[in-house]
Amino acid sequence: MKFVDEYRDAARAQEFAEIIRRTVSRPWTIMEICGGQTHAIVKFGLDELLPRHVTLVHGPGCPVCVTPLELIDRAIALATHPGVTVCSFGDMLRVPGSRTDLLAVKARGGDVRIVYSPLDAVKLAHELPNRQVVFFAVGFETTAPANAMAVVQAQRAGLRNFSLLVAHVLVPPAMAAILSSPDNRVQGFLAAGHVCAVMGCREYEPLAAKYRVPIVVTGFEPLDILQGVQQCVEQLEAGRAEVVNPYARVVRPDGNPAAQQVLRTVFRVVPRKWRGIGEIPASGLGLREEFAEFDAEQRFGLAQLTAEESPECQSGLVLQGVKKPHECPAFGVRCTPEHPLGAPMVSSEGACAAYFRYRRPPPSQPRGEPANRPS
């Protein structure tokens, strides 16, 4: 298939791996930001192609995983309300809140619907004039413009029964939080290509300069990721710390100005709690005052509903790249996709789910098959 097969070519993948092997002279730890990249790495076994000196750690870029417990509890509270229809992307439905999840609320009669686009939720609000339709707006800069557009459309249409439960988070503040943590081991980043497609690359330059880390804008296909690792390692070995964009087929330096415009029109930067990490200043998006009538938290008076994570939770360490999923004592034993203890085991972008799905028990070659790890 065009635009897919050429980026999954086995021979080219081996070539990139060979270049990386020749470049590396000492150990490096590189973090891929996006959960989609984590899944591609584990699904295609890309880390097994890399020399032992290169360690990939998995970043916080899974929107479902970092959505704070109290916002999930608020969504669940809304869904149990008889007059409310809660819409979200499918992944959100299985993430446990303090006591239950949205799927279980649905099974008990709550009106919870999976939609593919926030604009479908606006359409639903048109179709159900006697119900309050709430869209659970999760995600990074990637999903925020479409959610902003939904608010703009609802305002234009004069819809009084549509609102957003906003849980948007931003990538650069999370990178800064990771880099300034005393436990930080990350020396270079593969930036999330889709986020950069919206926001461009320039906002990463101050991070690269301040923390002296190379940041490589990276896509999601196997060759994209290997190329990202190769360019990151090259900079690390040369002592450089620059923002580069080999994913130029998708990302322009200034991103998508129209998407940024609608995002800025509707949202403002706010402090945001990250599940497993805690509050990070200026790391989220909230609705601007002009759009406050579309804020579900205000409309339904949810602000008093709070919940605290257990201080012992390890998912924060996984989300910050300090631990790998299988280093958690609960991984695969007390914590599985059927009985998730934390969101990273639930979401299709969660690092724990990737390890459980593609790598359990830990990587092994069937006997008689050639080993793939290059020596």
């Binding site: 298939m1 897919v4 999954r8 086995a10 993948a13 699904k43 295609f44 076994g45 890309l46 192609l49 929107p63 479902v64 992307f89 499918g90 992944d91 959100m92 439905l93 299985r94 446990p96 809140g97 303090s98 006591r99 239950t100 999840d101 799927l103 279980a104 649905k106 099974a107 999976i114 593919y116 995600g139 990074f140 990637t142 999903t143 889709h194 257990s310 012992e312 939770c313 390890q314 998912s315 004592p329 007390r334 914590c335 996709p337 059927e338 009985h339 998730p340 203890l341 934390g342 969101a343 299709s348 459980f356 593609y358 790598r359 028990p361 092994s364 070659q365 069937p366 006997r367 793939n372």
Partner: protein, 349 residues
């Protein structure tokens, strides 16, 4: 929360007190439901075989017996309708027991207000499909439920088939070194339904693979192929079928990703939605585990049947890691091919 529970993360949902949609998704939750509720309640040797149907012996005759319920939305889709599914699904479950399907029952649960014309179209479609599969619908039942209490039309069919070949077929017979054969490309039924349901339009419409599979199965058996296990690929797709067989047969199943045929439109649709074609539903595909020495001959026989023209060998049974399905990816790395938890959900971004 127990005392030693240090990696707490948020509250564990150890047991759902209500049935979730995911309990019917063909994934691990459904297996748990079947084990915990039904196998516990009905336990007997035939049920314990965990095959698509039960094989029974009575008065010297070898019978296969199975049942299935059909709740598809929309009722009509490219390549079939709920009627073709209701006949072929049960016919195929009998075929997977190595039986010649003979008689079906049909139970209709109809929602008040369903257009009569719809019901007639479905009945005619069932008649045509039954004729093509060589079965008769010999008994039935009709119930009408209040408007809002059903989704238009639900159909249950049960079927009886006759087994001419006495050899055991099932996961327990699978042996290391067996060849894993796949009867054609995967993922068409699920993507046909999803593209209609979600209003996705592609340049070339994806049509369901819904088809009867008794003829190719009986051709294999008639030719004396050592068929060890058969499984039609329905909910959960190829991935679920292989995982069920690996678990029940206590063997490792190893396949090559590049060997599994997926049509371009199905691949494209799956890429867009973030779905894995290996876990998408089929209604006219099956896997056959045959003795290694019979693999080439079995492929030749399958390919002579129109419904299996693209049959291929996709893998081998190994003894190393019982219960596990592994796959060598296109870029040459081995990984686990795990059963999904519930239904596949499209990704966020």
């Amino acid at each position: 929360m127990s005392a030693e529970f240090t990696a707490s993360c948020p509250v564990p949902l150890t047991n759902y007190p209500h049935v979730l949609l995911a309990h019917g998704g063909g994934g691990r939750l459904m297996q748990q439901l079947i084990e915990n509720v039904f196998v516990t309640a009905f336990d007997n040797p035939q049920l314990a075989a965990r095959h698509d149907g039960a094989t029974l012996e009575t008065a010297g005759a070898q019978l296969a017996f199975t049942t299935d319920s059909y709740v598809v939305r929309p009722l009509f889709f490219p390549g079939g309708d709920i009627g073709t599914l209701a006949v072929n699904g049960t016919v195929n479950d009998l075929a997977m027991c190595g039986a010649q399907p003979r008689w079906l029952s049909a139970g209709f649960i109809i929602e008040e207000g369903l257009p009569m014309e719809t019901l007639q179209r479905v009945a005619q479609s069932m008649r045509r499909t039954a004729d093509a599969a060589g079965v008769q619908i010999v008994t039935g039942d009709t119930k009408v439920v209040d408007k809002g209490k059903g989704d238009g039309l639900f159909i249950n069919t049960a079927g009886i088939g006759m087994r001419a070949h006495t050899g055991n077929i099932g996961p327990g017979v699978v042996r290391p070194s067996d060849a894993v054969l796949l009867s054609g490309d995967v993922g068409r039924h699920g993507m046909a339904i999803m593209s209609v349901r979600e209003g996705l339009e592609f340049e070339s419409p994806i049509t369901s693979d819904c088809a009867p599979l008794a003829a190719p199965v009986l051709a294999l058996l008639d030719a004396g192929i050592a068929v060890h296990c058969l499984r039609d690929l329905t909910r959960g797709g190829l991935c679920a079928a292989l995982n069920e067989i690996a678990a029940a047969g206590r063997v490792q199943v190893h396949i090559e990703e590049a060997a599994v045929p997926v049509s371009e439109p199905v691949r494209g649709a799956c890429e867009i939605l973030g779905l894995d074609p290996l876990s998408v539903a089929n209604e006219g595909r099956f896997v056959a585990f045959v003795a290694a020495g019979d693999a080439d001959r079995a492929l030749e026989i399958l390919r002579s049947q129109p419904v299996c023209a693209d049959a291929v060998r996709i893998g081998t049974v190994l003894a190393n890691s019982p219960g596990l399905v592994t796959m060598r990816s296109r870029i040459g790395v081995n990984r686990v091919l795990d059963l999904l938890s519930g239904e596949q959900l499209p990704r966020i971004c």
